[in-house]
Symmetry: C2
Subunit: 399 residues, 2 copies
């Protein structure tokens, strides 16, 4: 049987909340062993974030959905004996990931130099808001702050200029994805020529790197690009329209499809209107075209239009809400919403990284209870004896 790509790779995971845990979730889904090192008593902050699966607010659905299948070891990293436990874990790991504020690892006794001394072959990745360098390195960062600073918020919003946040924490998540890419690239290099790596990933850098088109447009115009509602900056019509019962996307992206669309909505005169003959003209004159299209679609339901436009080859789609996703045949066929072993009825996202002809993830393992694997890892990975464990427990170093 084909092995999962990261079988045999051990990740020591000091991360909390989202960017770092998202990265190690991707590594776990690819087959790595992920050992979360958490603070005794409280653990990953996300354990205390809603929504909760129980009235007692012990089981955070948020935490479970990004920590499925990881192991949890509780170690007090402020205690020198706890720091020794972490040093031992680092000696036996392939990857170390942390997302503390820059400077915290040094204060805990784990500078770059010390980590390299403990394990010259380790891939050591830091994920932070602004990165380990530069004037803003030590500033606090949250997703909404980075969405605002990166320019992403300035291009996301309504056409009359009400900017909004991307509804998902995309700055955290893209930083997590880039971290996974950097870690995998470093593991590959190590396999070829040996040697570890020291990675420094910033949420701000990650978010700027996905603006793409807007960076080019911004440089070539005196006016910075602004939000455009659901519309595309250079393709028209390519946006959402209200129908009788909802909203839908219509993406008639070239001249031929536009003509087809005009006939389908029974407005043939539009097809030969000089103002709308080319994509360039339609984009330039969208303020005139839009009200005409906006008058057409509310005559019928979204289902009607999708059934009419799809066979004509006009790309179109409903705007699904999160409940709709659980009924979507395509997502079911792709195992994109999979059950968790320990929570009947609750689903989490599957892995979007599909290896054809290899087993896909059909179900996710439970997220760990706080410190659930402390003994297992300390005995099996570090070879600690019972007396040592008992002493660490007695002193509150582990729990």
């Amino acid at each position: 049987m084909t092995q999962k790509p990261l079988n045999g790779i051990r990740v020591i995971d000091l991360t909390r909340v989202l960017a770092g845990p998202f990265c190690t979730m991707v590594l776990k889904d690819l087959g790595a062993e992920v050992v979360k090192v958490e603070t005794p008593g409280t653990g990953d902050d996300a354990r205390h974030f809603g929504p909760f699966l129980d009235a007692g607010q012990e089981k955070s659905a948020y935490f479970m959905s990004i920590n499925a299948g990881k192991k949890s070891v509780t170690v007090n990293l402020k205690d020198p004996a706890g720091q020794e436990v972490l040093a031992d874990l680092i000696r036996r790991a392939d990857v170390l990931v942390e997302n503390f504020r820059p400077g915290v690892m040094e204060r805990l006794g784990f500078s770059d130099a010390r980590v390299r001394l403990l394990n010259p072959e380790i891939v050591f990745a830091s994920v932070s808001g602004f990165g380990q360098t530069g004037p803003d390195a030590k500033k606090p960062a949250y997703d909404v702050i980075i969405q605002g600073l990166s320019g992403l918020m300035s291009i996301t919003g309504t056409e009359d200029g009400r900017t909004v946040r991307v509804g998902a924490s995309i700055s955290d998540i893209t930083a997590g994805l880039y971290s996974a890419i950097g870690i995998l690239a470093a593991l590959f290099r190590r396999s070829q020529s040996g040697g570890g790596a020291r990675l420094d990933i910033a949420m701000l850098d990650a978010t700027v790197s996905v603006l793409e088109n807007a960076i080019a447009r911004g440089q070539l115009s005196d006016k910075p690009p602004g939000p455009r509602g659901t519309a595309h900056p250079s393709i028209t019509p390519f946006s959402a329209f209200k129908t009788k019962d909802a909203e839908m996307i219509v993406a008639a992206g070239n001249d031929r499809l536009f003509v087809t669309l005009c006939h389908a909505i029974e407005m043939p005169a539009l097809a030969s209107d000089d103002r709308f003959k080319t994509n360039r003209l339609r984009t330039d004159n969208f303020s005139e075209l839009r009200p005409l299209l906006e008058a057409a679609f509310p005559r019928e339901t979204t289902d009607f239009w999708i059934e009419k436009l799809t066979p004509l080859g006009i790309p179109c789609a409903r705007i699904n809400n999160v409940h709709d996703l659980f009924d979507a045949a395509q997502l079911r066929a792709r195992n994109m919403l999979v059950p968790m072993e320990d929570v009947p009825g609750f689903k989490v996202t599957g892995s979007p990284i599909k290896f054809m002809a290899e087993p896909d993830i059909e179900r996710k393992a439970a997220a760990p209870g706080l410190g659930e694997h402390s003994r297992e890892v300390l005995v099996q990975v570090l070879g600690y004896a019972e007396e040592k464990l008992a002493m660490l427990e007695k002193n509150g170093v582990i729990s």
Copy 2:
């Protein structure tokens, strides 16, 4: 000197526009050799997308920004002789990436089985809108369609329910990032135990996988989550506010910071108001809290508030537009907007994957002219003789 992680890796890149090219841009930035195989005469569609750097619309800034440093070989893949050229390239490659509509590779004579026969060790990745499987596999997909279908659009918009598109093509880009992750994981596995891989990445899967929090919230509520403007679903205040001259983000995410904020904005009574004592209460009663805060910030400018709140430890930030990014000291310190070798004054995004103590990308190489490297690659990589090249050129197979 440390080698770049992917030095020595050759990627044959059949992709066009964004999702695939974004993936191979990441691989190129990590040191891979990326050979774009393009259609003679027209090439990657993105070569014809604005904005353009010249009046003649020959130099697409959009194309250049995601294809810097790649090589371009023009091959007519509809001609059997061109298919033989591609077969030869596949024999000498580590990675093959394509983002045609599912079925096109088979029609061109490159089924999974054929590709594996040509090169059993190749990592063959397909990027598509819906994936290679499932009822919607062959439907056309554009970023806005996937943003609508994935649920992302349903949670992005104003609080009164006007949904918008994320201003960047985030469905394309996350699919590109997941493709890079899958390819790197497969290359690592090959280095450990040999064998290629067949990857199937879908924009829809990728976008659903970044919804995260919303998937959990959606399952635990009768009402699907909707858009919330700039606000956070469970932390308050954590959103944008209008100031005298602009808008800014204020993220006073815990009770202590909220009290500090109330004094800073000279509304001390709010700090002891029973309706706002805890984060839970502030979130539940945000409709009452918001107008009070909205009255405070317009009294002063964004700069005033940032200078006042930052030393108090209250996370806050301006909302930058794309022009502002070019003045940002942090982005300059991080090499996140770097010049292109061949276009004076024009910048593209740097790599967010920073390896500390290793050279960063300070400048990007030119994007290739269409077919610029046809001869170089066919001679140096494939060892074709001059007579063979001349015949292929004469027959229009390459150009």
